[in-house]
Subunit: 493 residues, 4 copies
Amino acid sequence: MALMTGIEYIESLRELDTQVYLFGRKESNWVDHPIIRPSINCVAATYDLAHEPEHEDLMTATSCLTGRKINRFSHLHMSQGDLIKKVKMQRLLGRKTASCFQRCVGMDAFNAVFSTTYECDQKYGTYYHENFKKFLIDVQDRDLTVDGAMTDPKGDRGKSQGLQSDPDLFLHIVERKPDGIIVRGAKAHQTGSINSHEHLVMPTQAVSEEDAVFAVSFAVPSDAPGLFMIYGRQASDTRKLEPGADIDLGNKKYGGQEALVVFDNVFVPNERIFLCGEHDFAGVLVERFAGYHRQSYGGCKVGVGDVIIGAAALAADYNGAGKASHIKDKLIEMTHLNETLYSCGIACSCEGCPTAAGNYQIDMLLANVCKQNVTRFPYEIVRLAEDIAGGLMVTMPSEIDFKSSVKVPTASDLSVGEWCNKLFAGADGVTTENRMRILRFLENICLGSSAVGYRTESMHGAGSPQAQRIMIARQGDIENKKQLAKDIAGIKD
Amino acid sequence: MALMTGIEYIESLRELDTQVYLFGRKESNWVDHPIIRPSINCVAATYDLAHEPEHEDLMTATSCLTGRKINRFSHLHMSQGDLIKKVKMQRLLGRKTASCFQRCVGMDAFNAVFSTTYECDQKYGTYYHENFKKFLIDVQDRDLTVDGAMTDPKGDRGKSQGLQSDPDLFLHIVERKPDGIIVRGAKAHQTGSINSHEHLVMPTQAVSEEDAVFAVSFAVPSDAPGLFMIYGRQASDTRKLEPGADIDLGNKKYGGQEALVVFDNVFVPNERIFLCGEHDFAGVLVERFAGYHRQSYGGCKVGVGDVIIGAAALAADYNGAGKASHIKDKLIEMTHLNETLYSCGIACSCEGCPTAAGNYQIDMLLANVCKQNVTRFPYEIVRLAEDIAGGLMVTMPSEIDFKSSVKVPTASDLSVGEWCNKLFAGADGVTTENRMRILRFLENICLGSSAVGYRTESMHGAGSPQAQRIMIARQGDIENKKQLAKDIAGIKD
Amino acid sequence: MALMTGIEYIESLRELDTQVYLFGRKESNWVDHPIIRPSINCVAATYDLAHEPEHEDLMTATSCLTGRKINRFSHLHMSQGDLIKKVKMQRLLGRKTASCFQRCVGMDAFNAVFSTTYECDQKYGTYYHENFKKFLIDVQDRDLTVDGAMTDPKGDRGKSQGLQSDPDLFLHIVERKPDGIIVRGAKAHQTGSINSHEHLVMPTQAVSEEDAVFAVSFAVPSDAPGLFMIYGRQASDTRKLEPGADIDLGNKKYGGQEALVVFDNVFVPNERIFLCGEHDFAGVLVERFAGYHRQSYGGCKVGVGDVIIGAAALAADYNGAGKASHIKDKLIEMTHLNETLYSCGIACSCEGCPTAAGNYQIDMLLANVCKQNVTRFPYEIVRLAEDIAGGLMVTMPSEIDFKSSVKVPTASDLSVGEWCNKLFAGADGVTTENRMRILRFLENICLGSSAVGYRTESMHGAGSPQAQRIMIARQGDIENKKQLAKDIAGIKD
Amino acid sequence: MALMTGIEYIESLRELDTQVYLFGRKESNWVDHPIIRPSINCVAATYDLAHEPEHEDLMTATSCLTGRKINRFSHLHMSQGDLIKKVKMQRLLGRKTASCFQRCVGMDAFNAVFSTTYECDQKYGTYYHENFKKFLIDVQDRDLTVDGAMTDPKGDRGKSQGLQSDPDLFLHIVERKPDGIIVRGAKAHQTGSINSHEHLVMPTQAVSEEDAVFAVSFAVPSDAPGLFMIYGRQASDTRKLEPGADIDLGNKKYGGQEALVVFDNVFVPNERIFLCGEHDFAGVLVERFAGYHRQSYGGCKVGVGDVIIGAAALAADYNGAGKASHIKDKLIEMTHLNETLYSCGIACSCEGCPTAAGNYQIDMLLANVCKQNVTRFPYEIVRLAEDIAGGLMVTMPSEIDFKSSVKVPTASDLSVGEWCNKLFAGADGVTTENRMRILRFLENICLGSSAVGYRTESMHGAGSPQAQRIMIARQGDIENKKQLAKDIAGIKD
């Protein structure tokens, strides 16, 4: 079984009977839908790059389960070096797509479920780790994309799972059968769910004993009976539907995707169950997945940041302002912030350590510090990009105007498109179209559909800022720090 | 002649033969176009509020030219109190529209041109001040909206006006005739140009002697022969075209507008000329207009900020998170930043002083400080709003999904809309629709069409950040500060 | 009775029998003590400047109680203009002294006690307002400096007044007598207490009914029996004791002062009592004093900031780096931050309104916003100053080294002083001594004795940052903001 | 030859005839001088910790030159692991001393000179690498502390070396002799110079061909004829001279040191020369040393930060405020910032790569990013510490007051010390002395002698902020980033 190419991956999606709802109705040919396709292209890039010799070292790995060559996105990290390569792979893909390429959630889920099931089996004599290994070998061998699905809709944030007025606001076990379980509920904000072959479901938060039905983890195919998705809309999403859309998209080929994934009494066979009521492992699993995913942001968003910095620099050149000292200083600041994020991604990897199951886990404190910075710096990077770009980024006429041959009946007798191209000319030697292109790219990432991935996802993906602060407090070992201060200040007590 | 109502204003626009191009072709009934109309409603609000007794004090004034009651938007500020009321009026309108209401550029231009023409006439014996007073009395009496048009396309930023490869990149005089002049060029990023009855044109930057043809100021009706506009597109603009669009718009009634205004050999009669080659007054005029407009941002954006703070607080309530201490702290921070902006708006007004012509000018240093803060704090306010709102703001299905009665063929036999309403329920007692509404409002202002006005316009409107820094350096009186330090440090030299 | 001069003020201090403890023992001639004297000089400047014609408008006022000309530091603000002049007077003094000049606490207390006693009398039929007016007329006529004393030691912050293990941790009434009361406790961090003729005591926080003994306000002379002070030490304080100290002091003439003021059973006659158990006015009084004092920081610290900006600019010149673009940009940023603080000081004044008693109160929301910014920006100003100054600011040999004629027995046969002067030379034409002077000034304000006033006092004076945040939350009118958002988002409920 | 203990190290200093000037005269017994000794104790800690088994792995290494066990401070880093251990060793020492322990400059110089001499020899056939290896083996075997001396006084920053009015403002070769060279000039801000056995001198900046006499690197003993030091003074330095000083010192045992090191015609024998006129290697050497040293700050300052966080947490506990949510949040923020710095230190190490000479070099971009953050975050950590500590940190009476038995003649008949202890009591169960101790520790690090090391050294050590920005610009590969943006935006040119 060889690694799939991007095209093979796209074709493989057609073989699934995934149920997708978009703008109020079922979308049969969602694979070719202009709003959805860019996000599929992003996942496809994770396949294609694995075939490029120069990226092979980052994009592929040798499975510790089978010894076979696999895509790194389905790899269990077996060393600090693996953790570091993960981050570098993510930065690479960010640089190539300037988007969320969606396949990380699966990878992060694999590594979290692997170690958690091992420990659960040790404690409770369950069989989840073997179940999971079989599942993962299949994923690796078939080179599948998997949605690591964690976040429940949650309803009233002030109430725990069991106290919600509607139990379906948290995914839960509704029935246990001899051959499996029936589950019900939903996962919200699912990045890349539609583009995944499988869904690997995890609990969304720690679970108390009385709420044990919410402590459930399992995998089902994306087209399992009872499972369907409702597509989330993004800023400027329908530009992709405009005839001949190109420049106004900013990023024509790539994009992100989020959906609500509903489980309306879905059956999970026993061999696909990885947690089933062992409530004390729900929190562990959440924390580990979150940890890996907070590390991820130190790679992917840095790659996107690289493209933004490049685009801002180009915009300045095209404006004829590339040599102004304040412009150069802003590009330095953007670079500085972006590399600080990268440093955090690398550091939590480099300080990783093995779990009882043998795979490696990031340093929890530093992974949370990484993500906390990601909730801040991309916003400042975007702000600086908007500063450099200039107001034209948001006041420019549409691509259709630039291409319009409709004559304006005034003295010059020029067409709308000729006027646009004439008056929005920038530095000598730069075509107005290229200037438009770079400004539309920036518009899209600053306040268009890609802003969803670069900004809001940086804020809330892998947990909202406050979640990281709680972890930083817990991991910060404040008592030890107090003792250091006592020793130096001469306090004995 | 009485103050117009909003409806009268809208009808008055129909009487003009303004030439508007949108998506590549001429738009005849632009007044009712769904993309344009919200911006017209905003201007209409400046008329309607003037009729509400509770707002009369802020919204109206007594003309110093005629003694008649006028809308404050066409007033010459005759005291510090007037300058302060201007800021309060702007905050009021920001609170009512959460948008750019566009009429400030005219007001700021009136005040800048009034004092500059006075001084130009003093020096050169020109007749511009009288010209301008006649024009302004007409504007006041007919209660017109005027586009104060300053920013040229500028082409290559590294080159001055005369060195551009295409002279039309800066608006200039092409011919002087006995009865007037012919001008040619364009004004870019024009906020509310289409919604204006008149255009009051000013130079975009200081002008040297050899470039004197670029030192020109005048007024023409928006439908003057040779004048036309090309509409600028915004993020998510076409949502306004979606059938039944309401919730997904975030702000259904109000919005902003920018356009490219082209002058293709437009004739300006002598009595409408306010500057015509007196190059040394170009810089003065630019600086004054910019100063007034930098003050404006300490009012309008603060009003919008008020709505964002309220929306974020509502979103937290609807999520059931309103009582969390970190949420409360973020709302405090947003309030703190917003009121700091307001303080700057008030302070530069309160420290204002009379010009030679008699109207009042803001304190230049503090007005620039005000705007400089506006290039920063709205971005942080938006970041905090996104933090509080949660990821659903950008992953939520469309309004059409929420309203869809298409059945999903799974166990529960619910429609798409029923699923959406069930699974995106928030705190008890809050309808899912209301939760959607507030999240869509925030989406729109953070990364949709309103982000153009709240973010990018905060950055570049009234001059980009570096322009303020240059003014702060110039106004900061560093030599005097050095002397203070010498006195205290005991340095004699 | 005329306004005192600085010298008369200093002589007037000698007439008091103020009990001062310093370094463990009683200091009789504290007026001439080198550690204390600079703080006295600062207060003296508030007297001297009142005699300079160019500053008369800011420094003096006409008493609303007597119609006589008084120093503005003992004035009741009777208009927004008065509030603004107060801020300008404070900026002026900050510019002249680069220190805390201490007399503001009295002025702020006068205005708070004046309006609070009026309202208390209205409610309870007490006689405090008349008492206070008599006291204030005396202060005005004799041109006295008064310590407005609020902050108690507080003990365990987690406990209210009555629950402290030692009741003396909050100042309280210990006995009521026919002719007065006996009070006991202390006021900590008292700025300028020793340099004051009188102490005007206020409660430190809101008081509940059962703790009514802590709701007490009164005035006593600084040498009242039972009252004494213990001097607080500052960073680098003993440099002032070094023989011939000049350059190393950074600011030879001026400085700040804090002390613990102890009331060990001090008798207060009835006519000097302004609150005595009416617990519901304690919180009111605290809030008003804090409000006025938070406004004050928008003046005094801005003045000090002016000197720091000048000093940093000089340091850059002396280093030969004054023309580097990053240096200029940092000076702009310092100016921007400093003027933002000033804007807040002006705005809360300009938005002030009359109290029931007739004097004017600042806008409470904006005054708290002002102070909140003061807890941040001076730190950044100092950071930028340290950046510009260069490391020499903290690694430079002592003044004694620079002046030493001790020969170093090496080839050049130069003295220690000659080596220092040779090797620490800066730009041509600048004496090494002048370079030293400006660096020592910066050292002193960044991390020496003046850092106490510019940094830590900016943080905690007039209440720590969290106190302002609580007030901002309370004053921010969040419910109204929610309604604005509902109106625009189309939410009806 | 075994590793020295701290005591042996201190005794070894007495054997040198180092010439030290302090307060204008020669200080013979500088080893025991109270102002100097704490800095010696810091260096001694680098010796003592190497003997503790739990720290052996970090504190010692196996020499790649001799195979012998050495102190890591004299080690050549031979792997990424070595670079990481370096950072961890520095954090450890920061945690133990809360000061600058001074031995890093030597270590960083060893690694920079090692690789640079190798490449210089390759190009020019010089013999410097062998010279240096011999020198380093001696250092390793004798376990010496070496001052890596780089920064020249520099005079007028606007002029290059050769254009200064006094050539001695940059250290240079004055004469070449058969057996060596004579050098002249000085090194300023030398951390730990007096406490070093040897001085390893490097150029301070890139050198052009005509200025080749400034391209010189060599080592001489600290007591070489013609070499002497003048001690730099610090804030609050003379507190160390106060009789019985303990609590008021904040950090009684440890501290930092800077001095001016003068070379008045010092002879350097040929075998101790590592660069002598090969001007093109001056810049290389500077960049490498700076790179290593910028990495160092991601370790040492983080360790100090740990102590500050602990101290702030203790101060809050002692104030009875440890449980307030805003306090906890500030401690989280401090931890977050501190760990971000650590992440940068680790990341630039983990991304290190071998030089031609075989030792490992950090990633230059990330090392500069690391240091740039160090010029910011410690200032914010200190600001937050001051916030948490409360104003008492800077208004507290002296230690002498707390211990004074002088009676205050008031009703209670208590001594000054009793009053202090009574009124500055904090939370129950905490002694006032302990509260004082932790506040004095914080005072010392925020605005006392330790602020020199934690703040100003963080700003300027290893190069001022602008130096890092220049390197970030150079290393940021902006052209490649532009290409990424072109690829995605569809720009072909």
